[in-house]
């Protein structure tokens, strides 16, 4: 019994260690000045696992790179924007997670967080059936969500098996 429990814990911890956001490029509306950008920078850096943050005021793009093994959740990035009085739009994400569901209705489980996304392809003709049950790296777009919410759908551009 102990062996089974230990095996389960090991499996979960292994998944957690390999599931994470690697990069988040978030478009933010409403930042007019340098202190706005600085406030976003400070807030994003306060999220555990964030390595670098770059804010482009003229495009509204906030580029976040994260350290391996982080457990940051998408909701934290959105909150960092909202608490400064701005609005988050679409986010380009590079995220690692476990592919579940079926070929017709695949899901990405970002283990280590509560984030779970229904995957829909940006372009038709992409087949994920061969990746089901595997740890994958997905490059996709999270559509804009309401305040305090995270989109449940990730529109993926590509999904590859994680090395």
């Amino acid at each position: 019994m102990k062996t089974i429990v230990a095996s389960c814990l090991l499996a979960i911890s292994t998944l957690a260690a390999h599931a994470e956001y690697e990069q988040v490029n978030l478009t933010v509306f409403g930042m007019d000045c340098a202190p706005c950008a600085h406030a976003i920078h400070v807030s994003m850096k306060g999220i555990q696992g964030v390595n670098t943050v770059d804010v482009d005021l003229n495009t509204g793009l906030v580029s976040i790179k994260l350290t391996p093994g982080n457990s940051a959740a998408m909701r934290q990035f959105n909150e960092a924007v909202e608490k400064n009085g701005f609005t988050h739009k679409d986010a380009d994400v590079l995220v690692r997670g476990q592919l579940s569901g079926s070929a017709q209705a695949p899901f990405l489980e970002v283990t280590g967080t509560n984030d779970r996304y229904a995957l829909t392809p940006v372009a038709a003709g992409t087949d994920l059936s061969g990746l089901l049950g595997k740890t994958v790296v997905v490059d996709g777009v999270l559509p804009q969500s309401g305040k305090g919410k995270v989109s449940g759908t990730l529109r993926y551009k590509s999904a590859t098996e994680a090395k």
């Binding site: 007019d32 005021l57 608490k83 009085g85």
Partner: protein
């Protein structure tokens, strides 16, 4: 009873809607602190007239309770005397506390937003006595309310605002009610629309106006004690990350004030320094 009403109003919240750390130095504007942001302002505000120069300095603190609600307190000290009319646009010797609520916040595109902010607060006499006509009055607290609305963007700013302050009566004396208003246009040249790790500059043209009612002393309205004035002048704001410095000067466009009571006010100027402490706090998931 009047005092109780004044304090009750103050519980709900500010004084002035000045946003020196993000906006113009003389006028009303809409910016408020972000959630958990602590701001500290200090500066010198001056009014020069035919009877001397009146200076005010002090410390202002603001704290963002939510992204759209900031509580603040301003504790000035004045020195010099100009025998000048009451003013709520220029800092005087009154202490104030209250809150600013950004009740409209419309984010329309990258770098642009339209917003409106209302403030309500309590104004209490500071430890220093005023000079001139106002200096002889028994002083009582007052309530100040302001509203500002406008546009902020990467290139241009435009804000309109108005405020009203009413003081309670003390020993049959009463400071004048004050109605104030402002319009401000700001511009950031294209070559200064750069990264946040560099100094951020913008210039403003600030138009402000005030009408102060009559002064009541011993239950009697003092003749010729009301005043109206309109002021115009430039200001420049420079910010680097969490530090801001701003300065401006205004000259009168219109004055209707008794020179025998107040002298002749010639110029207003301000220098303000701000420190903005942003919060890195985030919730865990």
């Amino acid at each position: 009873m009047k005092y109780r009403m004044v304090f009750a109003c103050a519980v709900f919240a500010t004084g002035t809607a000045f946003a020196a750390d993000h906006g113009p130095v003389f006028s009303y504007a809409t910016p408020v602190n972000s959630e958990r942001e602590l701001s500290f302002d200090t500066g010198i505000f001056g009014r020069n007239g035919s009877r001397g120069t009146q200076l005010s300095t002090g410390s202002g603190f603001g704290y963002g309770v939510t992204p759209h609600l900031t509580v603040n307190v301003f504790l000035p000290a004045s020195f010099g005397s100009g025998d000048l009319p009451e003013s709520r646009m220029m800092s005087g010797g009154e202490w104030s506390t209250g809150a600013s609520w950004r009740f409209l916040h419309s984010v329309t595109s990258v770098g642009k937003r339209i917003e409106s902010t209302a403030s309500l607060g309590l104004v209490v006499p500071g430890p220093q006595q005023d000079s001139g006509v106002l200096g002889s009055l028994h002083r009582a607290p007052g309530v100040a309310g302001t509203v500002a609305t406008g546009l902020a963007s990467r290139s241009q700013y435009l804000w309109f605002g108005g405020g009203y302050t009413r003081f309670a009566e003390a020993a049959k004396d009463r400071r004048p009610d004050t109605l104030s208003w402002s319009a401000v246009y700001g511009y950031r040249p294209s070559r200064l629309r750069r990264g946040y790790d560099q100094w951020d500059y913008r210039g403003f043209a600030e138009l402000t106006g005030e009408h102060t009612g009559a002064v009541r002393s011993g239950g009697v309205i003092l003749p010729d004690s009301s005043s109206t004035s309109v002021w115009l002048g430039p200001s420049v704001l420079a910010i680097f990350k969490d530090v801001a410095i701003e300065g401006g000067v205004q000259a009168p466009l219109f004055r209707d004030a008794s020179e025998s009571v107040y002298g002749r006010e010639r110029i207003r100027f301000a220098i303000n320094l701000s420190y903005l402490k942003y919060s890195s706090h985030t919730s865990s998931h």
